[in-house]
C-alpha cells in the first residue's frame, strides 16, 4: 500500500494493508461528511476472512461524523461476527466518540406492524369510522350531564371567558356573515327573477327570496360559516391545550374540562346563532330587494308589502330552530375533535380539519332530517 500519494484536496480516504486475516484499515486525509466519503459496505467483502481488524489514522487531517460512522459500522459488524477490533492507533477523540456510540446498548428496534392489505385497510377504516359514533354519543352524554351542573349552578367556568367567547362568536362574525348573506341573497334574486320575468311575475322575487332566505339559506350559511370560523377555532384551541397537557392539569384540579371548556363554547354558539341567523336573513332580504328594485324594476313599496305578506312567523321559527341546531352541532364537532386530539402539532391540524368536515356533515344530515320533519308536520 502506498501512503505517499494523497490527492491535493485531501479528501477522506481509506487505505487497507496487513493480511487478509489481520487487515489494518487506515483513515487518511480530511474526512468530511460528503457523498463520496468511503462507506463500510463497499469494503466489507475485503474483510470477509478477517480474524482481527485494526483501525488507525495516518495523515488524518480532520474528521467529523463520517469517520465515526465508518468506524462504528466496522465495530458493529465485527461484534456481530465475534472479531476483535484493535483501536489503539486511532486518535483519542475518535476512540472516545466510538466508545460513546456503544456506551448504551440499543434496545431491539420497535417492530412496525406490516401495512394492511387493501381489503383489510377498508375494513379497518370502516371499523374506525364505526367506533366514532359511540364516542360521539358518550361526549353528548357528558355535555348533558355538564348542562345539568350548569343549570344547578355547580359547573365551574369563568364568566370573563364566557363573555369573550360570546363576543368572538357573535359580533366578530358579523362582517363575514353580512358579506356572504348579501351575496347569497343576490344570487337567489337573480336566479328567481330570470325565470319569474318570463311569466311577468317579477314581484314574486319577494316571496322567493324572503321565504327561501329566512327558512333555509340564512341558517345554512350561518352554520357553514361558523363551522369554518368557530368550529375550527374550538378544535384548535382545545387540541393545543391537549398537546400542552393543560386539559390534564384541569382534570387533576378536579375541574371538569367539559364544564370549563366545552359547555361555555357550546352555549356561546347556541346563544349567538339565532341572532346571527336572524341578521343573515334580514341582510339576504335587503339584498333581494336591492336587486329587484334596481335591476328588475319592481317598486320598492310593492316589494316591501309582498315580503311582509309572504313571511309568516312560522318561517322565522323554522329558520331559527335550524340555525340553533346547526350552531350546536358545529360547537359539538369542534369541541369533540379538540378533546380527541393527539399530542402533536400534526394532530392539532388533523382535528381542526376533521372538526370542519364533521361540522358540515352533521349540518347537512340534520338539515335533511329537519326539512322532512317540518314538511310532514306541515309547518
Amino acid at each position: 500500500m502506498n501512503f505517499d500519494e494523497l490527492p491535493p484536496d485531501w479528501r477522506g480516504q481509506l487505505a487497507i494493508d496487513g493480511s487478509a486475516e489481520q487487515p489494518c484499515l487506515w483513515l487518511r486525509g480530511a474526512w468530511e461528511l460528503r457523498d463520496d466519503v468511503p462507506r463500510y459496505a463497499a469494503i466489507a467483502p475485503q474483510l470477509a476472512n478477517a480474524r482481527r481488524v485494526s483501525v488507525g489514522a495516518r495523515d488524518l487531517e480532520r474528521w467529523d461524523s463520517s469517520a465515526v460512522n465508518f468506524l462504528a459500522a466496522v465495530v458493529r459488524d465485527a461484534r456481530a461476527r465475534n472479531i476483535e477490533v484493535d483501536q489503539s492507533a486511532l486518535p483519542d477523540g475518535l476512540r472516545r466518540m466510538l466508545a460513546l456510540v456503544f456506551a448504551v446498548p440499543a434496545p431491539p428496534p420497535r417492530a412496525t406492524p406490516p401495512a394492511p392489505g387493501m381489503l383489510a385497510g377498508v375494513g379497518l377504516a370502516v371499523l374506525h369510522a364505526w367506533r366514532d359514533w359511540p364516542a360521539m354519543i358518550e361526549f353528548a352524554g357528558e355535555i348533558i350531564l355538564s348542562l345539568g351542573r350548569f343549570v344547578t349552578g355547580r359547573a365551574r367556568y369563568r364568566r370573563g371567558d364566557f363573555a369573550y367567547l360570546i363576543e368572538e362568536v357573535g359580533p366578530r362574525a358579523l362582517p363575514i356573515v353580512s358579506l356572504i348573506s348579501f351575496l347569497v341573497g343576490t344570487i337567489l334574486a337573480y336566479m328567481g327573477a330570470v325565470q319569474l320575468a318570463l311569466f311577468g311575475a317579477s314581484i314574486y322575487i319577494a316571496d322567493l327570496v324572503g321565504i327561501g332566505v329566512v327558512r333555509e339559506v340564512a341558517a345554512l350559511m350561518t352554520g357553514i360559516i361558523l363551522a369554518g370560523r368557530t368550529g375550527a377555532a374550538y378544535a384548535a384551541q382545545i387540541g393545543t391545550m391537549q398537546v400542552n397537557e393543560e386539559i390534564d392539569a384541569l382534570r387533576t384540579l378536579g375541574v371538569s374540562p367539559i364544564d370549563y371548556l366545552v359547555l361555555p363554547r357550546m352555549l356561546a354558539l347556541i346563544f349567538m346563532v339565532p341572532v346571527l341567523t336572524l341578521y343573515a336573513g334580514i341582510v339576504g332580504i335587503l339584498a333581494g330587494m336591492t336587486i329587484a328594485v334596481l335591476v328588475f324594476d319592481v317598486g320598492f313599496y310593492e316589494y316591501y308589502n309582498e315580503t311582509l305578506s309572504a313571511l309568516e312567523l312560522k318561517h322565522f321559527a323554522v329558520g331559527l330552530i335550524k340555525g340553533t341546531v346547526y350552531g350546536g352541532l358545529v360547537a359539538f364537532a369542534g369541541c369533540l375533535r379538540g378533546m380527541q386530539c393527539g399530542r402533536s402539532a400534526q394532530a392539532v391540524g388533523e382535528s381542526t380539519t376533521s372538526a370542519v368536515v364533521l361540522g358540515i356533515l352533521l349540518i347537512t344530515i340534520s338539515a335533511s332530517i329537519l326539512t322532512i320533519v317540518f314538511q310532514k308536520l306541515g309547518i
Partner: protein, 255 residues
C-alpha cells in the same frame, strides 16, 4: 497573514458592548466578553435576568438594541442574510424543552437538517441519524415520536438533532432543567465528551450549580438589579474571590 491564520487568531465568539432591551425597557447593558475556541462557557444569573434573551441574540433570533456579536472576528449583525444563514449552519442549538418537531419521529427530527443542508444519499443520512442517536444513548429509538419518550430522552434527542450537522458551536438553554441529578450528570459528561472529541465550543445558559462547577471553564454573571454583568471568569475562581453577590449565588447563599 492568511485567512486561515486570522480565523485562528480571532476569538471564536465576542460579545461587544451589547445592550438588550424590550422597547425602552433595558434588560442588560454594556455586556462585553469573549469566548475562546473549545471553551465551555456558562451564562449564569438569577431567574429573569436576561440569560435566555442573550442566548437568543447570540444565535441570531433577536437583534440586540445596541452592540453586536462577532464570530471569528466577523460581525454577525452586520453580515448579509445569506452570510448569517451560513454562520447559523455552524450552530447546534438545544432549546429549553427540546423543541423536537412533534409530528416527526426521532429519526426524522435528526434527519431534517441533514436533508435540508446536505446532498447526502438517503441511506447515508439514515446511518448518520442512527449514529447521532446512539451517541446520546438513544440507539433503537429511531421510530419513536417525541410524545412517547421521557423528558430526559427529549433533551438528549434534541442534542442529537443539534449535533446533526457537526456544529462548531453548541448552544444549550438550561440543558439540565427538569432532569433528575443522575440524568443531569450524564448530560454534563456527554457535553464534556463531545467538546473534547469534536473540539466544539459550548455556550450554556444555566443556573444549576453542579453543572457549572463540573464543566464550565469560563463564565459571565448577569445581574438583574444593576442590569449588567458583574463577574467574568472561571466559576471556581469566582466562587472564592468574586464579588459578594456572585459568591453568594455560587454557594447557594452560604457565603
Amino acid at each position: 497573514m492568511s485567512a486561515a491564520q486570522s480565523k485562528q487568531a480571532a476569538p471564536h465568539i465576542e460579545i461587544r458592548n451589547l445592550t438588550m432591551a424590550y422597547g425602552d425597557y433595558v434588560i442588560q447593558r454594556d455586556l462585553d466578553f469573549t469566548i475562546n475556541r473549545g471553551d465551555i462557557f456558562v451564562i449564569m444569573g438569577g431567574s429573569g435576568c436576561g440569560k435566555s434573551t442573550l442566548l437568543r441574540q447570540m444565535i441570531g433570533l433577536v437583534r440586540p438594541a445596541k452592540g453586536t456579536v462577532l464570530y471569528d472576528g466577523v460581525d454577525y449583525w452586520a453580515a448579509s442574510p445569506a452570510q448569517q444563514v451560513q454562520r447559523q449552519r455552524g450552530f447546534g442549538i438545544l432549546f429549553q424543552a427540546g423543541a423536537l418537531w412533534s409530528s416527526l419521529t426521532l429519526a426524522e427530527n435528526v434527519a431534517l437538517p441533514l436533508q435540508e443542508f446536505t446532498t447526502l444519499a438517503p441511506d447515508l443520512i439514515d446511518e448518520i441519524v442512527s449514529l447521532k442517536l446512539s451517541l446520546v444513548g438513544l440507539g433503537g429509538f429511531e421510530q419513536f415520536y417525541p410524545s412517547e419518550i421521557s423528558g430526559g430522552m427529549k433533551k438528549r434527542a434534541g442534542l442529537a438533532r443539534a449535533m446533526a450537522l457537526d456544529p462548531e458551536i453548541l448552544f444549550f438553554d438550561e440543558p439540565s432543567a427538569g432532569l433528575d441529578p443522575l440524568s443531569s450528570r450524564r448530560l454534563d459528561d456527554l457535553i464534556l465528551e463531545l467538546r473534547d472529541s469534536l473540539g466544539a465550543t459550548v455556550v450554556l445558559v444555566t443556573h444549576e450549580l453542579p453543572s457549572i462547577f463540573a464543566i464550565a471553564n469560563n463564565s459571565v454573571f448577569l445581574d438583574a438589579d444593576t442590569r449588567t454583568m458583574i463577574a467574568y471568569g472561571d466559576p471556581r475562581e469566582l466562587a472564592e474571590h468574586g464579588v459578594e453577590k456572585v459568591r453568594t449565588f455560587l454557594k447557594r447563599g452560604a457565603a
